[in-house]
Amino acid sequence: MKKFVNDPADVLAEALRGIQAAHPDVRVDAENRVILRAEPTRAGKVALVSGGGSGHEPMHGGFVGLGMLDAAAAGEVFTSPTPDQVLAATQAVDSGAGVLHIVKNYTGDVLNFEMAAELAAAEGVQVESVVVADDVAVTDSTWTAGRRGTGTTVILEKIVGALAEEGADLAAVAELARRVSAAGRSMGVALTSCTVPAAGRPTFELPDDEMEVGVGIHGEPGRSRVKLASAREIAKLMVDPIVHDFGEPVGPAIVLLSGLGGTPLIEQYLLYGEIAPLLAEAGVDVQRVLIGDYITSLDMAGASLTVVKADDDMLRLWDAPVATPGLRWGA
């Protein structure tokens, strides 16, 4: 296993130490493994709390800061945080105006956040939750755990964070969060597996001439394994199911192309060069683009594409100032 690591059991604690050393604008609660803004929540501001398994950096801890999250609970690698962690985050950032939990749709995340919300409510904190389930690779059915939550989470945290920063109340913040969540679709492709440090070897073996289409951000195998294709063909494998899933003309949209951790930017750009014309052809009017490693899967080579249908309000909030370790502009 070729990683910058000491004892694999210490990965999370030690990564948090690095985050604290690098970013004076955030505060790491090492005991609870929670990343918070250095400044307490402004009175009256609704707080945004997210979290999930680690290994997806900069998500979520890297999105804590002005205009985005107030706190993020960091679980072990690929393991949802515990209710205690989420509760600690929630209590730490509630200014009295309530807290929005932003949850990605995985059984573990949903259950742990649910328990935390119950505990927080018992302590008198108003909590609303939004569950992101945007991965079109997964058949959405009442017979399954439903779609995974992926890239839409990043866009949601930015847009809804801006609204909370403006002083909107919890109901309005939660309502917008649900709108953004409903407006997003994602699709990922892996060229290699990732290696979970504690497991010590790749989660799956991919022959040199194959790739996983519809892979999850935890190295869950995808829906199909196919021959390694050109960037041009891969772009189609990503764009088509998203556009098809929208069903209706998309119109103005915010697009995120995220590397999965082991794919360098030059390849992401090359891939986006193939994606952009396909989106245009399909009637997606790309208003804003984010390219880079925003939601990763440890060292996996691959990329995920997210398209969020965006109205004027969302675009305005997207453009509002943000100052976090992972996303920053206007401040």
Partner: protein, 211 residues
């Protein structure tokens, strides 16, 4: 032993479960690599290490023990298995009152309350390819054998759990992370059903040893 199970026996069970999880940690992670995200072994091992650290001094009663185990699992495991195994133990306690010993029927009722809690949390049904596929038949086997005493009930339950675990192999997952795989989830044992079988086998071994 045909009669009562003591608090010490149950503490020994929890310790034996911890040892079994450590012995099978890599296997659990390997199973979770095939249809999940390669963390079930380390999740369970981390949780049970935390649990064992809470067992000194030993809890005063089975219900205290189960409360401690459940709360510790909830707050140290995370993932899907944390809240689910945590709920299993948290719900077992109240069924037992403050007794310091429990008989086969009582332990069976506690297990049933625990498993019902897991179902209430996770909404899985038998056949969904989850830990329920090991736990649910184990309960029925326990009840059928309870009259023969706890050691025999545990033996029957462990056997039923193992059968239930094995039966997950051909199934298409409908709950948890493996469900994302659709048809590709068939052909692999469910990791949670495998760890749940370890739980019942640890009980069998503990009660057999105590007999």
């Amino acid at each position: 032993m045909t009669g009562a199970v003591s608090t010490d026996d149950l503490v020994a069970w929890v310790r034996a479960f911890r040892d079994a999880v450590h012995a099978h940690k890599d296997e659990l992670t390997r199973l979770d690599s095939e249809i999940g995200d390669a963390d079930h072994g380390s999740n369970m091992a981390r949780g049970l290490d935390a649990v064992v650290a809470e067992l000194d001094p030993a809890p005063a009663s089975p219900s205290d023990l189960f409360k401690t185990v459940g709360m510790t699992l909830v707050s140290s495991v995370g993932g899907a298995s944390g809240p689910l195994y945590g709920t299993l133990f948290l719900r077992m306690g109240p069924a037992l009152g403050t007794e310091t010993e429990v008989d086969a029927e009582g332990l069976g009722a506690a297990l049933r309350a625990g498993v019902e809690g897991v179902v209430a949390r996770g909404k899985a049904e038998p056949g969904d390819k989850t830990m329920i596929d090991a736990l649910s038949p184990a309960l029925d086997a326990w009840d059928a054998a309870a009259a023969a005493g706890p050691a025999e009930a545990a033996r029957a339950a462990a056997e039923a759990a193992a059968r239930g675990r094995d039966a997950t192999e051909p199934l298409v997952a409908r709950k948890g992370r493996a469900s994302y795989l659709g048809e590709r989830s068939a052909g692999h044992l469910d990791p949670g059903a495998t760890s749940a079988t370890l739980l019942l086998e640890a009980l069998r071994d503990t009660l057999a040893g105590a007999a």
